[in-house]
């Protein structure tokens, strides 16, 4: 029969699909790494048991009726159509069950909202499409970095095999100490994003122009991965969040390294750079910040209203043109103001790169020129 052939074809395809998947399929919550995530897991399990019991009960009746009260076995319909006692019971009992559920849930909600007395406060800023971290208070105060997807484009486009942490890896991980109450303050620079680490049970929208907060206390060391969970435009799927939880000593060591690195990375503002140096540095900045819209060959992307940079009159024109565009952005487009995200040297480098790539040829831009155009 035709139908059965189709069925077997389909089963075959599904089985092939199943065996073709390289990774073990995840199907339940990630292992909790905080009390909050544990509580969520526990609440979910309790709720699922209650639901299962009700479900089996109600549909037990339905399937029994389907079996025993069939016309085909000669069952005659009775004509009753109300029963006040039963109707009151099945209104009141579910209401009571709900109250029983609401009690423990309320306690968790209240605990979840209590962001008071943190050991460490970190501001998280969502950008299209990366995360900025500023350690505001506590050990490590003053540390500040931007965290971007580090999965190479070749893996995304299928030109290289996918790595172990495909799409869930970043260049700069957020590092926090174990056992400390970490308060996360979220905000955003452009559109709404959402910061989420499933294993910590922490999710909060990052809203442009507003501050919101959540907290977590990691109870085991390790690297925990999440993704932006609020649609934020084209590269929404490509702005992961990685939190590395380390011991207190390792955290102190990390803080020391970061401070040293930040001091070393601070460029001499008066230095005059070679064109070659700027282009090399600019290529990296471009890959991290610009390539999603303006594309690898500088050809732009109409869907994002991102113009081609190759051959662009603005790019190769007078220097203040590109400098102002990068510093201040273009309103109502994904072209954001980079003045707070990139240093003068970075901006000078990326502009110099675009002015000297894909057939463009123009003078270099020095950090001092960028500084002069800052408002």
């Amino acid at each position: 029969m035709k139908g059965s052939k189709l069925v077997s074809l389909f089963v075959g395809l599904t089985a092939a699909a199943a065996s073709g998947a390289a990774h073990a399929a995840a199907w339940y919550f990630q292992t909790p790494a905080s009390k909050m995530a544990q509580d969520i897991d526990w609440l979910h399990q309790v709720l699922m048991w209650i639901i299962l019991v009700i479900f089996v009960g109600v549909f037990g009746f339905m399937f029994y009726a389907c079996y025993a009260h069939r016309k085909s076995i000669g069952h005659k319909a009775e004509q009753f159509h109300e029963n006040t006692t039963v109707e009151i019971l099945w209104t009141v009992i579910p209401a009571l069950i709900l109250i029983v559920i609401a009690w423990p849930v309320t306690k968790v909600v209240i605990a979840q909202k209590d962001t008071s007395a943190p050991d460490l406060t970190i501001k998280v800023t969502g950008y299209q499409w990366k995360w900025g971290y500023d350690y505001l208070r506590g050990e490590g105060e003053g540390i500040s970095f931007v965290s971007t997807l580090s999965t190479p484009r070749e893996q995304i486009e299928g030109r290289a095999p996918k790595g172990e942490h495909y799409l869930l890896e970043v260049d700069n991980e957020m590092v926090v100490p174990i056992g400390k109450k970490v308060r996360i303050i979220t905000t955003a620079a452009d559109v709404i994003h959402a910061w989420w680490i499933p294993a910590l049970g922490a999710k909060q929208d990052a809203i442009p122009g507003f501050l919101r907060d959540i907290w977590f206390r990691a109870e085991q060391t390790g690297t925990f991965r999440g993704q932006c969970t609020e649609l934020c435009g084209k590269e929404h799927g490509y702005m992961p969040i990685v939190v590395r939880v380390v011991s207190g000593e390792d955290y102190a060591k990390w803080v020391g390294e970061q401070k040293k690195a930040m001091a070393a990375a601070a460029d001499d503002p008066g230095k005059t750079w070679e064109l070659r140096e700027l282009v090399a540095r600019g290529e990296r900045i471009y890959a991290a910040n610009c390539v999603a819209c303006h594309q690898a060959a500088g050809q732009g992307l109409a869907a994002m209203k991102a113009p081609a940079l190759a051959g662009s009159k603005v790019v190769i024109g007078a220097e203040q043109g590109p400098i102002d565009t990068v510093l201040n952005g273009r309103p109502n487009t994904a072209m954001q103001a980079f003045d707070k995200q990139l240093s003068d040297t970075d901006i000078a480098a990326v502009i110099t790169y675009t002015r000297n790539s894909w057939g463009n040829k123009a003078s270099d831009v020095q950090p001092a020129e960028v500084k002069a155009r800052r408002k």
């Binding site: 139908g3 389909f10 599904t14 699909a17 199943a18 390289a22 990774h23 073990a24 399929a25 995840a26 990630q30 969520i40 609440l43 979910h44 009700i54 479900f55 109600v58 339905m62 009726a65 389907c66 009260h69 016309k71 085909s72 069952h75 009775e78 004509q79 009753f80 159509h81 109707e87 209401a95 709900l98 559920i101 849930v105 309320t106 909600v109 979840q112 909202k113 995304i156 299928g158 996918k162 495909y166 799409l167 559109v191 999710k203 909060q204 929208d205 809203i207 507003f210 959540i214 993704q227 932006c228 609020e230 934020c232 435009g233 929404h236 490509y238 869907a303 994002m304 209203k305 109502n332």
Partner: protein
């Protein structure tokens, strides 16, 4: 011809003598003008139903596109921006183009016949309510061909992402305006028809439950649609006229958009679900050969759901950072909805209890509805719980949840209704065997698509992403295969309907033994073009 034109120049349904002589032959214009100029509730019902099927196909193709990209990790078929455009338009087209119109189609065909009225109260308004829709649909589809393409912001059209979009966003906003206008006009018509045009003796508490659910739905539409129109208009002025409703830099608030949108959006869930409840409440008693259990409590439960639906909107927004009291209020209110919804499910099961059951296609779809809508209701309860929702918000768990409500709920109810009333409408029986095959294919493929998405969401896959980690690959593959199968199964549905219209066996006046509303008991099959020009007296 003159008598035809004359007929159209008069409002229908005042029992003109000559109508009786012409009967079924006394018809409309011929050809396409019949459909453009028609003021007949049956014609307009048919238009709504075909329109919604076309939109269902368009939205379904978009879903297949989405599932093609998600078949494997990495980017294979489309760029992420086009993916976002597809998810946005799939949602808008399915909600506003497919599900809402299909039930308005049912309302047009059924309400006058079920309450013994000759037509809808405002026959010309009815024509206009429908003919607004194709223009709105055209705007939506045209947005794909604008510079920058269709908006890639999700069907919820959240600010301030909407401000970054191209001109396609404006077309979408105007489309939403027009759709809203159509819905409001249609609702006013339905409310007036039900309240003023019932046959003598058809008291409110004697109306078939389908009519009740539509009366309540129409009030929801009148209350909710203007709010949506306001939200998208504010988006429009933020985009072009320098206002800053949703921009903090100008004193606005992006979250304000979400509050306004969901104040519309949650009642919208019930706008979609309630008419489906009505259909199911007709089908289950008919195939149980037993009156609906707890008729009065059904009416009260439906009203309670409708009223509570206006005070739960922020449960879509637990992660925006509300005060703890806000979260608790919206959680408790949401959980309360489970009570009247439970009452409905219990009533349906009790209707079947000790009945004399048969399982023709409409009943199968009704049982599929009952089983899976309840599943969607339970995941709704899970999502009502704030801490769990914070973990699941904007993941595939939510996608699975609302598809269980919208597809296994509304779409299955619509299929049940189509198979139930198709014999009455066309005068011909569908092929029972093919109908049952259509049911089983739809059921299996639906669960293949969406059941596994619960796992994806719990394991941490966000929604609206075109690419994912390989640990999500297995479920995505199953889901995609299910989607392709689901799409193919609907071609069978189209074939069944067309075959019924063309060459089905003639149907008797009352093909379903247990069906007892007026269209079965008082009208021949198929019903003549004008029915109940003299209203029946209900005893």
């Amino acid at each position: 011809m003159s008598s035809v034109a004359n007929d159209h120049a008069h409002p229908h349904g005042h029992g003109h003598e000559h109508h009786d002589h012409h009967g079924a032959h006394h018809g409309p214009y011929g050809g396409v003008m019949r459909w453009i100029t028609t003021t007949n509730h049956k014609d307009i019902g048919t238009l709504y139903l075909w329109f919604s099927f076309i939109m269902f196909s368009v939205g379904g193709l978009m879903a297949v596109g989405i599932r093609m990209e998600l078949f494997s990790p990495g980017l294979q078929v489309m760029d992420p921006d086009f993916f976002n455009q597809l998810t946005t338009m799939h949602g808008l087209i399915m909600v506003f183009g497919a599900i809402m119109p299909v039930f308005v189609g049912f309302a047009n065909w059924q309400i006058p016949m079920m309450i013994g009225a000759p037509d809808m109260a405002f026959a010309r308004l009815n024509n206009w309510s429908f003919w607004l829709l194709p223009f709105a649909a055209t705007l939506l589809v045209l947005s794909f061909f604008m510079p920058g393409g269709a908006p890639g912001v999700g069907w919820t059209l959240y600010a301030p992402l909407t401000v970054q979009m191209g001109i396609g966003m404006d077309l979408t906003i105007f489309a939403v305006h027009i759709l809203g206008m159509s819905s409001i006009l249609g609702s006013i018509n339905i409310i007036t028809t039900i309240l003023n045009m019932r046959a003598p003796g058809m008291t409110l508490m004697r109306m078939p439950l389908f009519v009740w659910t539509w009366l309540i739905t129409a009030y929801l539409l009148v209350a909710a649609m203007p709010v949506l129109a306001g939200a998208v208009t504010m988006t429009l002025t933020d985009r072009h006229f320098g206002t800053t409703f949703f921009n903090a830099a100008g004193g606005g608030d992006p979250v304000l958009y979400q509050h306004i949108f969901w104040f519309f959006g949650h009642p919208e869930v019930y706008i979609i679900a309630l008419p489906g409840f009505g259909v199911i409440s007709q089908v289950i008693p008919a195939f149980s050969r037993k009156p609906l259990f707890g008729y009065a409590s059904m009416v009260y439960a439906t009203s309670a759901i409708a009223i509570i639906s206006f005070i739960v909107w922020a449960h879509h927004m637990y992660t925006v950072g509300m005060p703890v009291t806000g979260q608790l209020f919206f959680m408790y209110a949401t959980m309360i909805i489970a009570v009247p919804t439970g009452v409905k499910v219990f009533n349906w099961v009790a209707t079947m209890w000790k009945g004399s059951l048969t399982f023709e296609t409409p009943m199968l779809f009704a049982l599929g509805f009952l089983f899976m809508f309840t599943l969607g209701g339970f995941t709704g309860l899970v999502l009502a719980v704030v801490p769990i929702d914070i973990q699941m918000h904007d993941t595939y768990y939510v996608v699975a949840h609302f598809h269980y409500v919208m597809v296994a709920g509304a779409l299955f109810a619509a299929f049940a209704g189509v198979y139930f009333w198709l014999p009455k409408w066309t005068g011909r029986m569908y092929n029972e065997r093919l109908g049952q095959i259509h049911f089983w294919l739809t059921l299996i493929f639906f669960n293949m698509i969406f059941f596994v998405q619960h796992f994806l969401g719990m394991a941490g896959m966000p929604r609206r992403i075109p690419d994912y980690h390989p640990m999500f690959e297995l479920w995505n593959k199953i889901s995609s295969l299910g989607a392709f199968g689901m799409g193919l199964a609907q071609i069978l549905f189209l074939y069944i309907v067309v075959k019924t219209i063309r060459s089905g066996e003639p149907a008797p006046q009352r093909p379903w033994e247990g069906a007892d509303s007026l269209e079965w008991t008082h009208l021949p099959t198929p019903p003549p073009y004008h029915t109940f020009e003299t209203q029946p007296v209900i005893k």
